[in-house]
Amino acid sequence: MSRAALSPRLGLGAALLLYLLFLLLPLAALIARLDPAAFFQHLRTPAAYDALRLSLLTSLLATGCVVAIGLPVAYALATRDFAGKRILEVLIDLPIVLPPTVAGTALLLAFGRAGLVGAWLSPLGIALPFTTAAVVVAQVFVSAPFFVNAARAGFEEVEPRYLQAAATLRSSPLHTFTAVLLPLSLPSIFAGVAMSAARALGEFGATIVFAGNLQGRTQTMPLAVYVALQGDLQEAVALSVLLLAVSFLLLAALRLTTERRR
């Protein structure tokens, strides 16, 4: 092989290697610090246990809400044209790039005691901030776009021919949605669920601003890691490794479902 062809190859290889090192080093450092013998013991401390339970609960609830709201929204975006669609698309994507602390502040100003909506809710005895519900609201806010975008892409990939065929077979739009569109875009829906669940699980900034950091009520795993870091390093490491494993598994499962589709 000529030198001219060899050098771009070398360059690409070097860049890949460097990037891989950059990704792996922190992860390796984290795992190297783990004391396997004490791993489960650290997860069994009351704070860690509460955080685990709370994270599981809130991210499940958040993902459920995201799917419930996101499916019709994704369907509308995929199948309809309406005024202000472009603006809506930008708004939907906004939480992806918005700093989470800004999201938290905005949520606080909307649903806080003196907030835009909160001021109306508090006389009814409903106070959202610093509750478990607030954690879910924050997670929904930041994770919804991942699901909406994936589901929409899935719907758009389905051949319109199948939907037309269903219509000529006396299938109402709702029946066509559940019996044709949904099954045919299932891989994308799964991908969206996995992405938004992972994002909800990792949510930190919006949660700590809007919901606070109360053990057992609003202290999810990422918050617990942050707190533990200031006290027991081993506990922080144990929680981190657990989060890392869950994130990795979610992404791997996602890969598997999309690969099988091809």
Binding site: Q164, T168, L169, R170, L184
Partner: protein, 360 residues
């Protein structure tokens, strides 16, 4: 007897301006033939409710599906119509059986009743062996049967078949066409079969509508189309040479002159002043290397564009001429050889006055 289907629709789609009027009685089949882009599929979509006419009225089996003046536009899923798509569009995530039962399930028919009727339909179309297969595992012919079963199980008043044979290879096409024709002949409703192939149209249908650039240019039975084409397009589909003009003079010997867009023709059996169509069989046209003398009454100069051997053995050859108008002559292979005809060669074509078949 009142019409089962009566429709008048108008729809503008880009360059195409579709305008069609149909009246069909129960139990009849209409073949719509035309080139791709002529508006055939659009017409089916308008009838099925997959596209909305700009104006018009569609009534099927006594129910108004669309009426632009009354503001009626029944959604596709409420219309009593069956549609077999060109690519069949079987649901890929369902078995053949589930595809066939889809329409009944969509209407909330009970599970055991769906099972029973699917089994009945499978037996009727003789496709029981395919019940559990996914569409991807089925051959083209099998997919077509499943798509047909899926539509027929709902007993549609109007069955639309959009090029149902085009996805099949030649050998299956022949058997499937015969089976399809037999099946469709038994249906109580109206069937509309769309194809781009004149051969298929002749083979499938007794009644044929020819569509050209969004218009039905001729509607009639097979023989009428074959013998009396009323446009160059239909004539070409039927493989005939075609002229259109007005009789400008008649003579005592019975030979009349007809003024056409391509000069004066000599024909027989016409009356002065009438507008006539003239069809000329390609076998009635003679080719010459030099301009022939007066015995043949109609002479055209042209260049050979193409020479196509006629099946089955090619002992006859179709010679397509680049002339005004474009002409087709069918001569023997022997004649072509003795004259050493080849593409690009200038020749003269002629036919006698009585060879042109004139009709109104």
């Amino acid at each position: 007897m009142t019409a089962m289907l009566s429709a008048t629709v108008r729809k503008r789609l880009g360059e195409l301006e579709l305008e069609a009027e149909l009246e069909l009685e129960a139990g009849t089949t209409l073949v719509i033939v035309g080139e791709s882009g002529a508006g055939k599929s659009t017409l089916l979509n308008l009838l099925a409710g997959l596209a909305e006419p700009d104006s018009g009225r569609i009534e099927i089996g006594g129910r108004v599906y669309f009426d632009s003046t009354a503001g009626v536009d029944m959604p596709a899923h409420e219309r009593n119509i069956g549609y077999v798509f060109q690519d069949y569009a079987l649901f890929p995530h369902l078995s053949a059986k589930a595809n066939i039962g889809f329409g009944l399930r969509a209407q909330g028919v009970a599970g055991h009743e769906v099972e029973r009727r699917v089994a009945e339909t499978l037996a009727r179309l003789d496709i029981g062996a395919l019940a559990e297969q996914r569409s991807r595992q089925l051959s083209g012919g099998q997919q077509q049967r499943v798509a047909l079963a899926r539509a027929l199980i709902l007993q549609p008043g109007l069955l639309l078949l959009d090029e149902p044979l085009s996805a099949l290879d030649l050998q299956t096409r022949r058997t499937v066409r015969a089976e399809l024709a037999a099946l469709v002949a038994e249906l109580p409703g109206v069937t509309i079969f769309v194809t781009h192939s004149p051969f298929e149209a002749m083979a499938f249908g007794a009644r044929i509508a020819v569509v050209e650039r969004g218009r039905i240019v001729q509607l009639g039975d097979r023989d009428d189309l074959l013998r009396h084409p009323r446009s160059r397009y239909v004539a070409e589909l039927m493989g005939l040479n075609f002229f259109h003009g007005v009789v400008s003079s008649t003579a005592a010997d019975g030979i009349a002159e007809v003024k056409t867009d391509y000069g004066v023709l000599h024909v027989v059996d016409v009356r002065l002043g009438e507008e006539v169509f003239i069809a000329v069989d390609p076998r009635a046209i003679t080719l010459h290397l030099e301009r022939p003398r007066a015995t043949a009454q109609n002479v055209f100069a042209g260049v050979i564009a193409e020479m196509v051997p006629e099946p089955p053995y090619g002992e006859r050859v179709r010679v397509i001429l680049d002339s005004e108008p474009p002409l087709v002559a069918e001569i023997t292979e022997y004649a072509a050889q003795t004259m050493s005809l080849h593409a690009g060669m200038p020749v003269y074509a002629s036919f006698k006055a009585f060879a042109g078949r004139a009709y109104r």
